[in-house]
C-alpha cells in the first residue's frame, strides 16, 4: 500500500529558529515529490522534486530529495510567524493514465514571536 509519512506531526519554535521537516515515502510508480503549505484554506504549492540530490530553494525555504532513502526534507531558516502553517508532503505516482498524489498527514509548524 502506498504511504507517505511526515515527521514531526507538530513543531513549536521561536522566530529566528531553523527547522527541518521530514517526509518519507513508499509508493509504486514514483514520479515526483511535492511540498505544500496550508494556512487557513487551500494548500499552496512550494516545491516539486524529481531528481535526487538537487536542492530547490525559494527564499528561506529549501528542499531536497533522496531517492535512495525514499525521503525528502524541507528546511526553513530564520523562521517568521508567517511561516506558521501545516506543511504537506505529497508523492505523485502515475497510475491508470493519470498522476495521483498521495499525501502525508502534514507537519503543523507554529512559530512564536
Amino acid at each position: 500500500e502506498d504511504k507517505v509519512v511526515q515527521s514531526p506531526l507538530s513543531l513549536v519554535v521561536h522566530e529566528g529558529d531553523t527547522v527541518t521537516l521530514n517526509c518519507s515515502y513508499e509508493v509504486t510508480n514514483f514520479r515526483s515529490l511535492l511540498w505544500y503549505k496550508q494556512e487557513k484554506k487551500a494548500p499552496t504549492f512550494l516545491f516539486m522534486l524529481t531528481s535526487s540530490g538537487i536542492e530547490k530553494k525559494s527564499g528561506r525555504l529549501s528542499s531536497i530529495l533522496d531517492k535512495k532513502e525514499l525521503s525528502s526534507i524541507l528546511n526553513i531558516t530564520a523562521t517568521q510567524t508567517g511561516d506558521s502553517a501545516i506543511y504537506l508532503c505529497a508523492v505523485d505516482r502515475f497510475q491508470g493514465g493519470s498522476e495521483k498524489l498521495v499525501f502525508g498527514k502534514g507537519t503543523k509548524l507554529t512559530v512564536n514571536p
Partner: protein
C-alpha cells in the same frame, strides 16, 4: 475568474439530503480531482478525471459521484449525505504535464 473556484464555501446539511459541491477552473487543465481533508487523516482522493468525459475512483469513493461534462467543471455529488461525510472538500486540477496540482479554496461541509 482565475484559477479554481468552489461553491458553496460552507454548508450545513441534514443527513439523507442530496448535495452537489461545485468546482470550476479556467486554466484549461485536463485533469481534475476531489479530495477530502479530515483531522488526523490528511488529504484523501475521492474521485478524479483525466479529461472531459472520463472519471475514476480514488481512495475513498463510496457515497460520492462525479461527472465531467466539460473541461472546466467537475461537480461532486453526495446522493444521501451521512455524518461521516462531514469534512473539508478540496477540488484540484493539473495540466497535461502533470507537474503540479492547484487547489481550490475548499468547501466546509457539516452533515447533521
Amino acid at each position: 475568474i482565475a484559477g479554481i473556484t468552489q461553491a458553496p464555501t460552507s454548508q450545513i446539511l441534514a443527513a439523507g439530503r442530496r448535495m452537489t459541491l461545485r468546482c470550476t477552473q479556467d486554466m484549461r487543465h485536463n485533469a481534475m480531482y476531489w479530495y477530502r481533508q479530515d483531522l488526523g487523516l490528511g488529504l484523501r482522493l475521492i474521485h478524479y478525471s483525466n479529461t472531459a468525459g472520463t472519471t475514476g475512483k480514488g481512495e475513498v469513493p463510496d457515497g460520492y459521484s462525479v461527472s465531467r461534462a466539460n473541461t472546466d467543471d467537475f461537480p461532486l455529488t453526495l446522493a444521501s449525505a451521512v455524518p461521516s461525510q462531514t469534512s473539508v472538500y478540496f477540488c484540484a486540477s493539473s495540466d497535461d504535464r502533470g507537474t503540479t496540482q492547484y487547489f481550490g479554496p475548499g468547501t466546509r461541509l457539516l452533515v447533521l
